[in-house]
Amino acid sequence: MNQPKIRISNLSKRFGGLPVLRSVDLVVRAGRVIAIVGPNGAGKTTLIKSVLGLTRPDSGKIVVDGADVVGGDAYRARIGYMPQIARFPENLTGAELIRMLTDLRARTSELDVELIESFNLGAALDQPLRVLSGGTRQKVNAAMAFLFSPDLLVLDEATAGLDPLASSILKDKILADRGAGKTVVVTSHIMNEVEELADDVAFMLDGCAAFVGTLDELKRITAQATLERAVATMMSRGWVQVAA
């Protein structure tokens, strides 16, 4: 009954001869929060960018809502993306940037400004983006991902650079949207956060999806009580495998 939101099959990608993704299979179920975890350079961001069509796969297939992402652009209207690095044109204001996205999406319906309000971004949006602090820019970045009430949210290290208050606000928003039936894909290095947010975990290692399942399953197969320990166990086992 839960039709998959994203189905990735046999996805491979090399950058300059170096394999970044190695036949990744992953199913993201609708209405759930999935966290993609794993060490730096495991391919998390590349995986996310492939779903958005920013990176083109060498082989394999990505299907979002039943439509292949290669060759289509329209499916991105239903995705809200929060990139890892919030660097915007220096001389535009946040309000102009938001107007640009609204224009590009040809949106006329009501915008979801909840985050703009709870982050108190009102005044900051009229400033050129160059004068905003890194944290404020990250808040603008987060607010833009939720702006168009997309049914799929893709958040790359969403809470990195946010203060505890902003981070809590963002996490509340993620959980509220999940409650409203939206699907959320997050990457994170903070295991407490993953435990708080995620229903499912995909553990990436060296370009492979080494484990995909629920949080409880991961804890069970690693025989660990916390997610942090479970992931650490996966990582050290992975290193052993690579070394052997």
């Binding site: 209207a77 990139p83 996205l101 999406r105």
Partner: protein, 262 residues
């Protein structure tokens, strides 16, 4: 079509506010105003401006263009994460760069002439000068976009940009002079024409000098050029060559942009 305009609109708005672009406009305004004051003759001032335009416009377009696009990498990613088509986005990014540069150039160079007031003859040559600058901006912004898309490494990209500029401004003319000197016993009019076609800056230079009645100073070669560029055929070929210099880098860049991984 729609996406082109939307991308262009916001990118141009950002670029127009850039300090470097404003400095570029002021630079041309100061030089032009200075030349007008010193020479007292608008056409003489324009003749001096020819060299400045041929030298500075390509350099600024190619360097500003590559640096801007490297800095806009995350911005481009944000645009491409929206439901947009890559081909249209690329055209929008190109125009969003070429138009502000054109605007700064036209305003900077044209404004002092408006202030000082000029006669009909000076108007024709001024228009020729502005057209040459606009075309060169179009060509070198297209090359800049191509470099920024093709080169992942920004230092290498910037190096390539400066190398291309040096090649077309300095090295190429040296090469042409060398060929002319070595082959001076042969009739080289056609070969020279062909070599001019292969360099947009040379094309602009010849086109401009002919407008300024400078052809008389160029002797026999000048006469050949005047005959060629004055004919319908010659003008058509010149326009085609310049169009190729704008569209070839755009087409190559577009192809690379469509396949690029962000």
């Amino acid at each position: 079509m729609n996406t082109i305009y939307k991308v262009l609109k916001y990118q141009a708005r950002d670029a127009v506010r850039s300090r470097w672009l404003i400095a570029y406009a002021i630079f041309f305004a100061l030089i032009t105003d200075g030349l007008l004051r010193f020479s007292g003759d608008p056409v003489k001032a324009q003749l001096s401006l020819v060299s400045v335009v041929l030298f500075v416009v390509p350099l600024v377009a190619i360097v500003f263009g590559t640096v801007y696009l490297y800095n806009a990498r995350e911005f481009i990613e944000l645009i491409l994460a929206q439901p947009v088509n890559r081909v249209q986005t690329y055209v929008g990014l190109y125009l969003g760069l070429a138009l502000p540069l054109t605007l700064a150039f036209v305003f900077g160079l044209g404004f002092p002439f408006l202030l000082h007031g000029i006669d009909a003859e000076a108007w024709t040559t001024l228009l020729a000068l502005l057209t040459a600058g606009i075309v060169l901006t179009g060509v070198f912004t297209a090359i800049a976009s191509l470099i920024a898309v093709r080169c992942e490494d920004r230092l290498r990209g910037l190096g390539t940009a400066i190398a291309v500029w040096l090649l077309l401004t300095v090295v190429y003319d040296g090469f042409v002079l060398f060929v002319l000197a070595v082959m001076s016993d042969y009739p080289l009019e056609r070969a020279t024409l062909a070599m001019m076609m292969a360099n947009p800056i040379d094309l602009a230079r010849v086109g401009l000098l002919l407008r300024f009645d400078g052809a008389a100073m160029m002797g026999y070669t000048g006469a050949v050029f005047l005959k060629f560029f004055g004919s319908t055929w010659g003008s058509a070929i010149t326009i085609a060559a310049l169009a190729a210099w704008v569209s070839a880098p755009i087409a190559l860049g577009m192809r690379a942009f469509q396949r690029k991984d962000f």
